[in-house]
């Protein structure tokens, strides 16, 4: 029995009929076509599907689409404004903070969330803040450097 979900994603309202068992990650990817949110484990271990729900960091594989009813979601596709990259995205490019790019959307969502809470994190705080997001390529050195660069540039308002 399908259920109706009304959810705002990156500022646009979607009203969709979904199976109650559909995970939010699949809703984003398959129902509304935002494939920037990636799936690497589907049990909350890897962080590739990390998005922000009402400003809180959420692994979208650990939430049903129906649980997002009435909520506001930001995905990687909603971070840049117009043609201007978000400062965290820009910092990831400047620092080669990605390789294959598969963890990158989740990593950037987590970094953005971290910097909103703590605009000037220490290296230890950055490492703690990103510990829920696995990257198999980079050894994290350039990711940490990217977050350091973005710190202070991120508009906290």
């Amino acid at each position: 029995m399908k259920q109706t979900v009304r959810v705002t994603v990156n500022g646009r309202l979607y009203e969709e009929e979904v199976e109650p068992r559909q995970l939010l990650s699949y809703f984003l990817r398959e129902t509304i076509g935002l494939t920037g949110t990636h799936i690497g484990c589907i049990i909350g271990e890897c962080g590739a599907c990390t998005v922000q729900v009402n400003g809180t960091l959420v692994k979208s594989c650990l939430m049903f689409a129906v649980q997002a009813n009435g909520k506001e979601i930001t995905t990687i596709e909603g971070l840049a404004e117009g043609d201007a990259l978000h400062p965290v995205q820009e910092a990831f490019i400047n620092n080669y903070g990605f390789q294959c790019g598969y963890c990158t959307p989740g990593m950037i969502m987590a970094a953005d969330s971290l910097l909103k809470k703590n605009p000037n994190p220490s290296e230890e705080e950055i490492r703690e803040g990103l510990a829920g997001n696995l990257c198999m390529c980079t050894g994290y050195v350039q990711i940490v450097a990217a977050v350091k660069e973005a710190a202070g540039q991120v508009d906290n308002g």
Binding site: C46, L134, Y140
Partner: protein
């Protein structure tokens, strides 16, 4: 005189070309694509490590209207042919039919037994439950030593009669003499466990088949198009095959070999259903059945003179290759790549034993057998030092190949192109202030704090020779190829932009950024106007045997072919422009995409004007020239001889360029818990001429982090029944930002004498010496307890046990 400068943009941290799409979620991975009418597939997998398949009843599944195709072992046997043994099975002397899916028997937990294609994935998963498989469970074999002792619990391949599936020897020089004349022989038993780089994107495939034109198209995240292409032809007997490879979410070798099984079965579902079929592997499936790096056991002995000179090395290697014969000898033959590491030793003998077990088949993984070979060398050198009461670095200095010996031919026929190994080691020791560090260590030990210093060195071979594996079987009838061939296409478009088309896929190594930097200097344009077309498409890509995101191939074959294609395009541009500008091509100059006649400012042509002439205006073209401004160049390594194909002496250029790195690990071990903290990790590396330092550093950081994590605990664990206990990333022990140490890199390049830019490889490098560095450091920390580190991984539990055992 018009000069091309391939190095104009080399060495610059040019802005990433992949970056904008990857940081905005615009990367396009296999799972992001859909096709009209596309179905979803799931696999039925073996719950048993070893069992005979007595029967499969898929009637209930087949009778459902929402199921479009089912594949059972019977279908596999009837509708497909077995794979032909490739280079990874070079040691297979008896033909054994290996199909894409299990027939008759299952040999590891997770082995694909069947598959279902349905309207959506949930339906397919539900339907899977209704397929009944009747298994006769057989005893599982999980211990290689039992196989060596002739005590198989059961025989995995009836054709072989025993689980010891291959045995062979490689010998170079005269080891008997070296050991006879040695002052002492130093022995050790070592082991490396099963692990994987666990790419974050699992295996993925979309297959579609046009039955009327008999054309099969697969979109998949393989690292090596050849493996998929050949597998589909062999298994399905279809010749017209198109392999499309979009963005890949990490490879590391995991997406080279076993992926072919799944692509074949998904293609069979597409053939049967008449619909495009998508399959996306889940994480548990990946951990169980996508392939592991080999568990390798080594008995090592070194012939040593009392001054620390190592005159001979012998080792016996037992490989647990898992439940397949298709990668039987890969971890052994890959040791030919770095068989003598950085050392001068002339006498080396390796006795290889490959044992099939009821565990996941082994596959290439970042360096394949090379981390094991480096582990053998660096552990035994440490032992030699202890035996002679010398500093371990002193023993290394004593045995290193010297820079004035370059190019240096190793006993097994590799030719080291360039390198200053003593310089790398010396610089690494200076950077950490080794004497002061030793003092600090002694002081801290007095306070009950156990610091350890591990200093190791390793070569990083690059550019695969496809004939390498024949060294163990020179009489092999069907050679898997030889040397390396790969191409690139470059096109000047009508608007003056440049499009590159590479012959190989990219899975995170910034090929688009790096190739643009190289091509830009040759063509006289900014890298900004160059773009590389993805995805890889076998219908149009100029690809050959070296078209592999594997074997550290990119720096050699892809860069070589880009240079060739760009140089030819430049010549053509000058020819056409010279004709239009009425000047000798050799008098022209190119800068910023404008061709000029020096001294005549008004005689100029932009690339856009040239493009329009070349494609639109025949009257402007010189006679006898092909229209268009597009060139394709296939690169073959010009220095591949001698020893490209091994003869009876079994000498072979296993790889063609040789970087190197000295690694220093500084750790602290808590003897109460066994926990190891990496306080500092430094690499002084020779990656030859660096094209883009940001990219190369990333490769080094990532490969070092993986090697360190492998040494400190990540890995696969099986029980005695062959059940995998580590099917999630957490159980497996994947390291996050919190556990991964910061890695420091200093570059000390010795440009290759054999490559156009002096470039060498960077992708596998730091994963090769890092397990040895950690082992060395942990042992050094626990010296007061008398602990010897032989086996990896060094989980806290294992380290704690080592301390208890040493004290007992």
């Amino acid at each position: 005189m018009a000069k091309a400068d391939p190095k104009q943009y080399v060495g610059l941290a040019a802005r990433s070309k992949e970056g904008p799409r990857l940081v905005t979620g615009q990367g396009r991975y296999t799972d992001d694509f859909t096709e009209p009418g596309m179905l979803q597939a799931v696999f039925l997998r073996s719950p048993h490590a070893h069992a005979r398949i007595l029967g499969v009843d898929a009637q209930a599944a087949l009778s459902r209207s929402d199921v479009f195709a089912v594949v059972t072992p019977e279908d596999i046997k009837r509708d497909t042919k077995p794979f032909r043994p490739g280079r990874y099975a070079a040691g297979l002397k008896k033909p054994i039919a290996e199909y894409a899916g299990a027939v008759d028997k299952v040999r590891y937990v997770g082995e694909p037994v069947g598959a279902v294609a349905a309207r959506d994935r949930s339906t397919a998963e539900d339907v899977l439950e209704s397929i009944a498989v009747d298994y006769e469970i057989l005893p599982a074999n999980t211990d290689v030593h039992k196989a060596i002792a002739g005590e198989d619990a059961s025989v995995i391949y009836d054709e072989l009669g025993a689980n010891l599936a291959w045995q062979g020897t490689l010998e170079y020089g005269d080891t008997e003499k070296a050991f006879r004349e040695a002052d002492r022989v130093v022995r050790e038993n070592l082991k490396i466990h099963r692990y994987s780089s666990t790419p974050l994107e699992p295996l993925a495939c979309i297959a579609s088949y046009d039955r009327f034109s008999r054309k099969l198209t697969v979109r998949t995240n393989t690292q090596v198009p050849e493996n998929i292409y050949d597998a589909l032809r062999d298994a399905l007997q279809i010749d017209d095959i198109r392999v499309i490879i979009p963005d890949i979410g990490g490879g590391f070798g995991q997406k080279i070999h076993l992926i072919r099984k799944y692509v074949v079965i998904v293609a069979l579902l597409a053939v049967k259903s008449g619909r495009p079929v998508k399959w996306i592997e889940d994480r548990n499936e990946h951990m169980m059945a996508a392939g592991h790096a080999c568990e390798q056991h080594f008995d090592v002995e070194a012939a040593v003179k009392n001054d620390g000179t190592v005159t001979g090395l012998r080792f016996k290697e037992i490989d647990d290759v898992g439940g397949s014969i298709s990668t039987l000898t890969i971890h052994f033959t890959n040791k030919l790549n770095n068989l003598s590491n950085t050392y001068k030793v002339q006498n080396i003998r390796a006795d290889g034993y490959s044992v099939v077990t009821n565990r996941c088949p082994v596959i290439p993984n970042r360096g394949i057998g090379k981390p094991g070979m480096c582990y053998i060398w660096e552990r035994i050198i440490d032992r030699v030092a202890q035996d002679l009461d010398m500093d371990p670095s002193e023993v290394r200095f004593k045995n290193l190949v010297q820079p004035e010996q370059m190019p240096y031919t190793t006993p097994n026929g590799n030719i080291y192109d360039s390198g200053d190994y003593p310089g790398l080691l010396k610089r690494a020791l200076e950077k950490v202030d080794y004497p002061a560090l030793k003092e600090e260590q002694a002081r801290e030990r007095g306070k009950g704090r156990y610091l350890g210093i591990g200093v190791v060195i390793g070569v990083e071979p690059g550019g695969r020779n496809a004939a390498r594996d024949m060294a163990i079987f020179p009489e092999m009838k069907e050679t898997p190829g030889s040397g390396g061939i790969n191409g690139a296409t470059i096109k000047l478009e009508k608007n003056g932009t440049i499009a590159l088309y590479l012959g190989s896929p990219n899975c995170g190594q910034a090929h688009e950024t790096t190739t643009a930097q190289v091509a830009a200097g040759i063509l006289g344009v900014s890298p900004d106007v160059i773009s590389t077309t993805t995805p890889f498409d076998s219908d149009v890509a100029p690809w050959g045997v070296a078209a592999a995101n594997s074997g550290n191939n990119f720096h050699l074959y892809d860069i070589g072919s880009i240079i060739g294609a760009a140089t030819q395009l430049r010549e053509k541009v000058l020819k056409v422009a010279g004709h239009i500008l009425d000047a000798e091509p050799s008098d022209l100059e190119i800068a910023d995409g404008v061709v000029t006649v020096p001294g005549f400012p008004r005689r100029r042509l932009t690339f856009a004007e040239l493009g329009k002439a070349a494609y639109n205006n025949q009257s402007l073209l010189p006679e006898g020239i092909d229209a268009g401004l597009q060139t394709t160049f296939y690169y073959t390594f010009p220095h591949a001889q001698p020893n490209m194909v091994p003869g009876q002496d079994r000498r072979v250029r296993a790889q063609f360029t040789f970087g190197a790195g000295a690694h220093v690990a500084i750790v602290e071990v808590d003897p109460r818990t066994g926990k190891v903290d990496v306080l500092r990790y430094l690499i002084v590396g020779d990656n030859g001429t660096i094209i883009n330092p940001g990219v190369v550093d990333g490769q080094i950081y990532g490969s070092a982090a993986h090697g360190i994590a492998v040494a400190l605990g990540e890995g696969f664990v099986y029980d005695d029944e062959g059940q995998l206990l580590t099917i999630t990333l957490t159980d497996y022990g994947k390291c996050s930002t919190a556990e991964t140490p910061n890695v420091e890199v200093e570059h000390a390049p010795s440009p290759s004498a054999f490559t156009p830019l002096g470039q060498k490889a960077a992708g596998e490098g730091a994963a090769i010496p890092s397990p040895a560095a950690i082992a060395s450091a942990v042992e050094n920390a626990l010296e007061p307890f008398g602990v010897k580190v032989r086996h990896l991984p060094l989980t806290p539990e294992r380290v704690w046990q080592l301390i208890q055992e040493a004290q007992a």
